[in-house]
């Protein structure tokens, strides 16, 4: 009896579940999660830009804090950081909000009942491989684009073929696998961590509410794991954003022959970055 109740409490679906369809376009619960995260970010951005002051209020300071922190890290990467800082900050905020949204009460627990199974209205966006793969593809396209922009199409192809030329049949597939491994690694890591977190919390809830004897545990055991998920959500967001930055930095550094400027003398005089290619792309 206890086992049956425990089983019915755990609901695990690997992909996003269909809520409704608009013609051929299927809307899944993870898409709702991503949409809610986007709306929350837009509302925060609207609030900050509408009521921003030179001396920030507490709320403005709180909202600006993660943006300034990530911008500070990106600004130390290359002289062309202005071209990709918006993307890195965007990834960080989107993944952070999407991950933390999944910890709110009701997310994953309120939904439509289809027979024995409950299909939640909202699912954390990063617990669906489609979302993480989409972000990883954007990163992949951007760092390849930076590589082509800096080296030129021929130069980028030369990088892929490698030196000396007679080693090309060996080095080309090795380079190709290495490049593709970035795409897979980015998407699978984020998906794996968030999905595993969801399963862990669901399991803990099911274990602690399975019988009346252990029911009091349900009030504090999941909270430990919710706290951990709060931390892991932030760590995964910053890892994804920083890896995006690292890959772009590597694409730029390869062009510079490994001689990335260590120190720009203009920095000492507080002059603005005057690199022609450093304007936002």
């Amino acid at each position: 009896m206890a086992e049956e109740e425990g089983e019915s409490l755990i609901h695990i679906a690997l992909g996003g579940e269909e809520l409704f369809a608009i013609g051929p376009f299927v809307v899944t619960n993870s898409m709702i999660g991503a949409l809610l995260a986007s709306l929350l970010l837009l509302a925060a951005a609207w609030y900050v830009t509408r009521q921003s002051t030179l001396i920030p209020s507490r709320l403005q300071g709180l909202l600006e804090l993660p943006v300034e922190w990530v911008a500070g890290i990106v600004a130390g990467s290359t002289s062309r950081w202005r071209g990709y800082v918006a993307l890195v900050i965007g990834f960080f905020l989107m993944i952070l909000v999407a991950n933390w949204l999944g910890l709110l009460p009701g997310v994953g627990t309120i939904g439509l009942r289809h027979g024995e199974e409950l299909v939640p209205f909202v699912r954390p966006a990063a617990a669906d491989l489609n979302f993480t793969l989409g972000l990883a593809i954007i990163t992949f396209v951007v760092f390849v684009w930076w590589g082509i922009r800096i080296n030129g199409p021929g130069g980028y192809l030369k990088e892929l073929i490698g030196e000396p030329r007679y080693m090309a049949p060996l080095m080309f597939p090795i380079h190709l696998i290495s490049e593709l491994s970035r795409l897979v690694s980015l998407s699978m890591r984020l998906f794996g961590n968030v999905f595993a977190g969801e399963v862990l919390i669901a399991t803990m809830l099911a274990l602690t509410t399975a019988t009346l004897f252990v029911l009091p545990l349900a009030f504090f055991v999941p909270s430990i794991f919710l706290g951990l998920e709060l931390l892991f959500g932030a760590v995964q967001a910053i890892v994804f954003a920083l890896l995006t930055m690292t890959y772009i930095t590597m694409a730029i550094a390869e062009h510079d022959g490994g001689h990335e400027p260590e120190h720009d003398p203009r920095d000492d005089h507080g002059e603005p970055d005057a690199h022609p290619a450093s304007s936002p792309a």
Partner: protein
Amino acid sequence: MGPDGDGKREARRNASGEPRPANWGIAFDLGIRLGISVILGLGAGLLLDSWLRTSPLFTLIGMALGIGAAMYTIWDVARDAMRR
């Protein structure tokens, strides 16, 4: 404080020998990429073999290339770290 000021402060922190935050990402990334490189090579080899019916020729070649790509990834990441 704007990003420019933070960037300079970040650069100074790097010069003082403290680990850059970006290195956390590389540490998280390297381990998983080693495994994925081998899996990608092996998967491509298995697919080619099942398509061309040449088993186990491309499986072995794919595995060797995957292991080669994993070793190349270590070298690539180390080279980038040394540059910085």
